[in-house]
């Protein structure tokens, strides 16, 4: 997995509405990339639902969250609606998993990204990463706040 201090690998992906989100769009804010294996799995549903609840607090700290999976944009649109989240969901569908590979979270035998968090600085370098021991283990929102606290310290 990519390490803190590295330049964030460039990317350009369609979100759930087909609008392109690129790394350079994240300049000037803290960005959390939340890689998850698949839309509609009950585990990531809870993960993004809880992140949704803390968005106002994250926004107050100049931080935004983006979900990323290898699902197609239309599937992500349906997933976003089904869990009622406003978090943009980026589709790493074609070429499949290219961004997951660039960030070192690709699981080749399953063809998906593993669950992982990457905090990117306003100047587009990687500040912090977290990969749970198992993709079934959900990274708590507290980890994001702890990482932002460490930035401020």
């Amino acid at each position: 997995m990519i390490e803190a201090g590295a330049r964030a690998p460039d990317f350009s992906l369609p979100d759930q509405d087909g609008d392109t989100v690129s790394l350079k769009d994240l300049e000037g804010q803290y960005s959390v990339l939340a890689f998850f294996p698949a839309a509609f799995s009950p585990v990531c549903t809870d993960q993004l639902s809880v992140y949704e609840e803390v968005l106002p607090e994250l926004r107050a700290r100049d931080a935004a969250v983006y979900g990323i999976s290898v699902d197609g944009a239309f599937a992500l649109k349906a997933f976003q609606a089904s869990i009622g989240t406003t978090i943009p969901l980026l589709s790493d569908f074609h070429p499949k998993g290219e961004v997951a590979q660039a960030y070192g979270v690709w699981v080749p035998e399953r063809g998906v990204a593993t669950r992982a968090l990457v905090l990117i600085d306003p100047d587009l370098s990687v500040r912090w990463t977290y990969r749970p021991p198992s993709p079934l283990e959900i990274p708590g929102a507290n980890l994001i706040f702890d990482a932002l606290d460490a930035v401020a310290a």
């Binding site: 993960q47 949704e52 609840e53 009622g84 990274p139 980890l143």
Partner: protein
Amino acid sequence: MGEDDHVRGDGPLVVEYADLECPYCAKANLLLAELPVRRAFRHFPIVSKHPRARVLAHALEAAGLQGRFWEMHGSLLGDQGHLDDPHLWERCARLGLDVGRFDADRRSDAVAERVVRDFRSGVRAGVMTTPTLFVDGVAHPGIPDDSLLARLSG
């Protein structure tokens, strides 16, 4: 534990973070009700998933202000099919609450802040799903499993 935590029962302490519209929380409530434990309830409404969760959390706090916290808690988790405002007023009437005061209290800033405080404490503790129970400082996400229930049954 805070001074104003909602606590009842005697025995080992179980701190539970719950969402009143969550069916897993209703199930966990039935299981815990059988056990000789001291329960502390904290709000963890996940509104993106359960649109009425925050409204219900506020309603429960408002009932608590009239001394009927656990009665309303049992009422809401015991029937999650009737959660609209008229149903809440009906529940109030059944519990002998002053409905006008209930309606004012549940929309008050104090009640909203109370619920947010619980939610934030859960986030800080790493809660990511409901229910999540804490026993001896260890998190147990989801409906309590057989081994946890056996341990708590004394």
